[in-house]
């Protein structure tokens, strides 16, 4: 019997000693879709993935993956999934080909199957030239690609990607996105975690936003954006000295101000008419505007509206991840 839902989580709870990490998470992932678990560091994303992939037992809750219970049918869950973690978990001293071949054999393919599958993946992930080299000579992006390839050896129907692009340069990130899109087109169900809002926006059919162990919003990217209203006006004040005054002059709901970059953004309620009024008022007050733009809300705005704090200090996280990779 093939269940319609690839993953079902009901009231998942998990604590480490006294620290509550997950406080009752619920969500359902439909087959053949990409599901993003979005949240800042420490929100519980990785813990959720570890529980789904049977690396950690849940404290309570009902969790099924591919129709199998993660606690009672761990082996069947493991045979249904591929996992690619935050760090490229590949063997440094083996070659790219050997890494994949080893994974194939552990996924219980026979030697011939696992060799031909390894070759296939090396071609798909553009690693053919490096196939015979030990992985310690690979770049960060190549390692992550190999790591993802390793999780695909057995063509698992469900794939968990824990922050698949953290620490990657923009080009490698695009390559990774394309690979993910191809996989979904081929029918794989993907659950990915990310702290990059644009990533969830780009890839996911459905997004769950979690913060400190709770689901705070769920929906498609468009649905989430609707929750925070329409278009936004963003303007930059030319002189830092005028910034405070500009904020007072504009004065509206959901005003977001950033003194450092001298930007003010606000949600449009009455469209262009309102913007014109604002510009007139600023002009009357003799405040010069350096830059002005009108944009659709991003998931950043969603996050801000939902949690009251900004999304992520991305530069920080990236620095950390790169540091780990370079080890």
């Amino acid at each position: 019997m093939v269940s319609e839902n690839a993953i079902v989580i009901k009231d998942l709870r998990k604590s480490f000693k006294d620290v509550v990490v997950l406080e009752g998470i619920d969500f359902v992932v439909r087959r053949g879709t990409v599901f993003a678990l979005l949240g800042p560091n420490g929100a519980g994303k990785t813990t959720t993935v570890r529980i789904l992939s049977t690396l950690l037992p849940p404290d309570s809750g009902q969790i099924t993956v591919n129709g199998y219970d993660v606690v009672r049918e761990g082996d069947k869950v493991r045979a249904s999934i591929g996992l690619s973690g935050q760090f490229a978990a590949v063997d440094e001293y083996l070659t790219g080909f050997e890494n994949l071949e080893m994974m194939g054999q552990l996924y219980r393919l026979n030697l011939a199957q696992s060799r031909s599958r390894s070759q296939e993946l090396l071609e798909q992930f553009e690693l053919v030239d490096a196939a015979a080299r030990p992985v310690k000579t690979y770049s960060g992006g190549m390692r992550r690609r190999l790591d993802l390839a390793a999780s695909l050896v057995a063509k698992p129907p469900i794939l968990f990607l824990d922050e698949p692009t953290t620490g990657l340069d923009p080009r490698s990130r695009l390559v990774m996105w394309n690979i993910i899109k191809e996989l979904v087109a081929g029918g794989t169900t993907i659950l990915l975690t990310t702290q990059y809002l644009d990533e969830a926006d780009q890839l996911a059919d459905r997004i769950v936003v979690i913060d400190v162990g709770k689901v705070i919003a769920e929906g498609s990217s468009d649905e989430l954006k609707q929750q925070v209203g329409g278009e936004r006006l963003e303007l930059t004040v030319a002189q830092a000295a005028d910034f405070e005054r500009a904020c007072q002059v504009i004065d509206g709901e959901m005003l977001h101000t950033d003194p450092e970059s001298r930007t003010i953004s606000l949600v449009s309620k009455q469209g262009m008419k309102q913007f014109k009024q604002i510009l007139d008022r600023l002009d009357d007050a003799d405040i010069e505007v350096e830059d002005l733009s009108l944009r659709r809300p991003t998931l950043d705005d969603v996050f801000l509206a939902l949690t009251g704090h900004g999304a992520v200090k991305e530069a920080d996280e990236e620095g950390k991840a790169v540091g780990v990779d370079a080890r």
């Binding site: 690396l55 996924y107 219980r108 393919l109």
Partner: protein, 274 residues
């Protein structure tokens, strides 16, 4: 845990008895760890150079100052170098496991439908292999610098048998260490800090009766001394007493305790609490 699972590749259903899979998975990971011996320069050097270095250092630098009575120093020394090198070699499991934990490789293996202790078995079989190679190299050097054993074939078999049993015991203990420490550096230091004093506080390089009383009591009764005394007796004909039996009991005991602990830790430990 080990019931046959359905391979998802092409929907092929592969049934094999649990033991068959355990052997299959162990073999795959033994091959992995064996490749590390030749590709990891650190490991290769410690296998090739360290036994030669210790043999020559003690034979020529310290040897002249140590009185071993009727037995020539090189005949006395060989069993000591053999056991100490085996202890260092067996600590590689701790280092290998710490690295695997740190790199997330343990997580990856634990998320596969495999017989997970195969990873431990891979590291430990690599220790046994490495120690066998080291021992052969050490014996070649020992013969070159005057080692003259009088062992027969049975005694040689006993020496190698005990050496492998000893390696196995230390390897399972280092598996526990590797699973408990938080980093590669910690694994290296712990292994060094445990093995160096334990192997020197034995009859490896000096007769124990030259030590102060407290140290002597410890040295004469600890398992490493029993192993060294037994091997020395089989190789060069010093009195064997009960050293062989006592070693056997010690190391089988250590394996019986540490193997289940290591396996349990491997299944239940959370390497990174992210």
């Amino acid at each position: 845990m080990n019931e046959p699972v359905v391979s998802t590749h092409d929907g092929t259903v592969v049934y094999r008895p649990p033991l068959g899979w355990a052997v299959n998975d162990s073999w795959v990971l033994i091959k992995r760890s064996l490749k590390h011996i030749t590709r990891n320069l650190d490991q290769l050097l410690s296998v090739l150079i360290q036994p030669i270095m210790f043999m020559l250092l003690f034979r020529y630098v310290f040897g002249g100052a140590i009185d071993t009575g009727e037995t020539s120093y090189v005949n006395f020394l060989t069993a000591g170098v053999l056991v100490q090198q085996a202890a260092f070699g067996a600590s590689t499991t701790a280092i290998g496991l710490a690295v695997d934990l740190q790199r997330g490789i343990v997580d990856r293996f634990r998320s596969l439908p495999m017989f997970s202790p195969a990873l431990l078995i891979g590291h430990i079989v690599a220790d046994l292999t490495r120690n066998t190679i080291s021992a052969i190299i050490m014996f070649v050097v020992a013969f070159a610098v005057g080692f003259r054993p009088n062992a027969n074939i049975v005694e040689w078999a006993l020496v190698f048998g005990l050496l492998l049993l000893f390696t196995l015991a230390i390897s399972w203990m280092s598996a526990i260490l590797g699973l408990l420490v938080k980093s590669l550096e910690a694994a290296q230091w712990f292994a060094f800090l445990l093995i160096l004093p334990l192997t020197f506080l034995s009859s490896a390089y000096v007769p124990t009766d030259s030590m102060p009383k407290a140290l002597r009591v410890f040295a004469e009764n600890q398992p490493i001394t029993h192993a060294i005394e037994a091997m020395r007796a089989w190789m060069v004909g010093t009195p064997v007493d009960n050293h062989g039996w006592i070693s056997l009991i010690w190391f089988i005991g250590i394996i019986a305790v540490s193997m289940p602990i290591a396996t349990w830790l491997f299944r239940h430990q959370t390497p990174r609490s992210a």
